[in-house]
């Protein structure tokens, strides 16, 4: 009750400022300087060309009719240096570009509970940049840029040393990395769409205990990269059409104690690439029509791959050694040719998902030109009968006869 009383008194005393072109109050920065903490600033339709706007007190700043904040390709557009700020309904465009400074369209610095929602960002260097931020929400924004290469472009949503961030329902396209996390913990990335970025759709390093739910990563230069983290949860994401010699649905490097569940990997060159990962559960995912569904290097340990559907992939699993410390169990493999005499839905002979041609192509990539030729299938058949080349222990002892629904 005390809280509601405080909120009531604050709202009772809060004043509303209206910024409008061709009136005495036509600069947003002037309104911010005049306002008291807790005030509301309404910015009406128009184009505002101001030097970097600094928000240094808790304010609710709302754009009506999508007012444009233009950085004129010179400067950073807005810096938020206070907690409890809400920025809503702006069109932010043409930020500066710099080879040595991280210039952003909207930057959050050392603040808590900042909300940035329903904005449109166009032609920006970094889009939304948070450093040392806690419990901020970045939602329903549309970020668009026109990156050409990795050197001259920057990330869409960039978080550095932040905690408990909520990043939801954003659309990011044409940046270097769609979403970039470094030293970010306990955060949620939910229902975002990250497509057509030059490097990664999602890139994160040293970020523990984060959850990625229901996102779509499509057609990014190198897919998604997840590195040097633990306690990562990836659920119900879609990884679609990430094509190229170094493109992956997900690249996992030095990840441990994580969960990858209910995701769909469709038409990627490589669905999941695992290197030096420990104790990851890959369960109930769908791998459909990928070049390689799963590349699991010999440096991976104690990972469990179970109850996944592997359908219409060129190769199901590839590896680079004979040491196998991971468990494959109860998956559905559409290339399984065994039988089920007791009709319990589980095949009676184990399935070896690594085909000899996958091993050959791994060693000598040009041989992909002979893929599916008569001689290639002869080699595969011979190897299936007497395994000598493929890792003996990489097998699924209980392959399913029918795909999981």
């Amino acid at each position: 009750m005390l809280i509601s009383l405080v909120v009531f008194t604050i709202t009772a005393h809060a004043k509303t400022w209206i910024v409008r072109p061709a009136t005495p109050l036509q600069k947003l920065q002037e309104a911010i300087n005049n306002a008291m903490p807790g005030d509301t600033i309404i910015v009406e339709h128009g184009v505002y060309r101001e030097p970097t706007i600094v928000v240094n007190k808790p304010l609710y700043i709302k754009g009506v009719g999508c007012p444009v904040l233009d950085g004129q390709k010179k400067n950073e557009i807005m810096v938020i240096k206070s907690s409890h700020v809400v920025i809503e309904g702006f069109s932010v465009q043409h930020s500066g570009y710099s080879g040595y400074n991280d210039i952003a369209a909207i930057r959050i610095v050392n603040s808590r509970n900042v909300t940035i929602r329903n904005n449109k960002l166009d032609d920006t260097f970094f889009g939304i940049y948070s450093q040392h931020a806690v419990s901020c929400t970045i939602a329903n924004n549309e970020l668009r840029s026109n990156a050409i290469n990795e050197v001259t472009s920057a990330n869409g949503i960039h978080c550095w040393k932040s905690d408990s961030m909520q990043i939801m329902n954003n659309t990011i396209t044409g940046h270097r990395d769609g979403i970039y996390f470094e030293f970010v913990t306990h955060s949620t990335i939910k229902n975002n769409v990250s497509t057509g970025n030059v490097r990664y759709g999602l890139h994160f390093m040293f970020s523990n205990d984060d959850a990625y739910v229901g996102n779509q990563f499509r057609n990014n230069g190198a897919g998604v990269a997840v590195m040097f983290s633990k306690g990562v949860t990836m659920v119900q994401n879609i990884f679609f059409e990430n094509w190229g010699s170094a493109a992956y649905g997900i690249l996992l490097k030095e990840i441990s104690d994580s969960r990858i569940q209910h995701n769909r990997f469709v038409r990627n060159t490589t669905g999941i690439y695992m290197e030096g990962t420990n104790r990851i559960n890959v369960t109930q995912n769908v791998f459909y029509n990928n070049g390689w569904a799963l590349k699991i290097q010999a440096s991976c340990n104690d990972n469990t791959i179970t109850q996944n559907n592997f359908q219409a992939n060129s190769f199901d699993v590839a590896t680079n050694g004979t040491l196998v410390l991971n468990t494959f169990n109860s998956n559905y493999w559409d290339k399984y040719e065994g039988y089920d005499l007791n009709h319990d839905g589980v095949g009676d002979v184990p399935y070896r998902p690594v085909s000899v041609y996958a091993m050959i192509a791994e060693r000598n990539p040009v041989t992909m030109m002979l893929f599916r030729s008569f001689i290639a299938s002869l080699l595969d058949k011979a190897e299936k009968t007497i395994p000598g080349f493929i890792p003996e222990n990489l097998k699924d002892d209980q392959p399913r006869m029918k795909a999981f629904k």
Binding site: A247, M368, L370
Partner: protein, 255 residues
């Protein structure tokens, strides 16, 4: 010429082996699509049919047909007809009847169950391979007078194109592993119509995998419109070079 084509074609379409071949293709294709719940897996099973069985039947049947028609050909040659016309009519009749057999037996089920890019490409490649191997068969049969030897040569050629050639290429690829083999590999594939057909189908079927490590050659040569047109042109060249050569041989042949 029209008359001879008509005669050869009618004779062939009533031929029991052609009908059996059509039925065989149809039975396999329909059962493959009915057994698999996923049409793309059915396509994969049919791939071997198109790349192995269709060339085999085309080449062996055409060779045998030409030998069996030796007396008919002699009769025609004794008439005031140009030899080129006789030979081309036999080729046209053979190629079109085999194509009809393939279209009905394999093309139709594919178009019914899997009318995708892959299915269309596979049907087109099956037709081209049929024509190529009929033309190679004509060359084989004009080169040797002895029937048994001719059929032997035909089977050997089939064996070479479907298996031995790829074996040699695989061997070379591993022998010269340390060298850039992408460009030679493109040349190698052009030397074998079966490989060309397979690669064109792969481009539709396994595009995700092909965009991987070997993307450079695939996207640069086979992947774009011009590469694809060039590949189809090379296939057509494969169909007509042996034919042209056999025409020359037939013109000078002492029957």
């Amino acid at each position: 010429m029209k008359k001879i084509i008509k005669y050869v074609l009618l004779d062939l379409l009533r031929n029991r082996i052609i009908i059996a071949f059509t039925v065989f293709l149809a039975v396999i294709s329909f059962s493959v699509f009915n057994l698999e719940d996923n049409p793309s897996k059915g396509i994969l099973s049919l791939l071997n049919l198109v790349l192995i069985i269709v060339p085999l039947v085309s080449i062996v049947f055409s060779t045998i047909y030409v030998y069996n028609a030796a007396e008919f050909i002699e009769l025609l040659v004794s008439q005031p007809l140009r030899r080129v016309n006789i030979w081309l009519s036999i080729f046209t009749g053979l190629a079109s009847s085999m194509c009809v057999a393939f279209l009905v037996g394999c093309g139709l089920p594919v178009l019914i169950y899997a009318p995708t890019d892959v299915g269309l490409m596979m049907t087109a490649m099956g037709l081209l391979l049929t024509i190529v191997f009929v033309s190679i068969a004509l060359l084989a049969s004009v080169l040797t007078r002895d029937k048994a030897k001719g059929i032997g040569v035909a089977i050997l050629l089939w064996f070479y194109f479907t298996l031995i050639f790829d074996g040699i290429v695989l061997f070379l690829l591993f022998q010269f592993m340390d060298y850039p083999m992408e460009k030679p590999m493109v040349v190698f594939s052009c030397l074998n119509p079966v490989d060309l057909a397979r690669i064109l189908i792969l481009l539709k079927l396994d595009i995700s995998a092909l965009m991987g490590a070997t993307s450079a050659i695939f996207s640069n040569f086979f992947g774009n419109q011009w590469g694809m047109a060039a590949t189809v042109l090379i296939m057509i060249a494969w169909a007509f070079t042996p034919l042209w050569w056999s025409v020359r041989k037939f013109n000078r042949k002492d029957l």
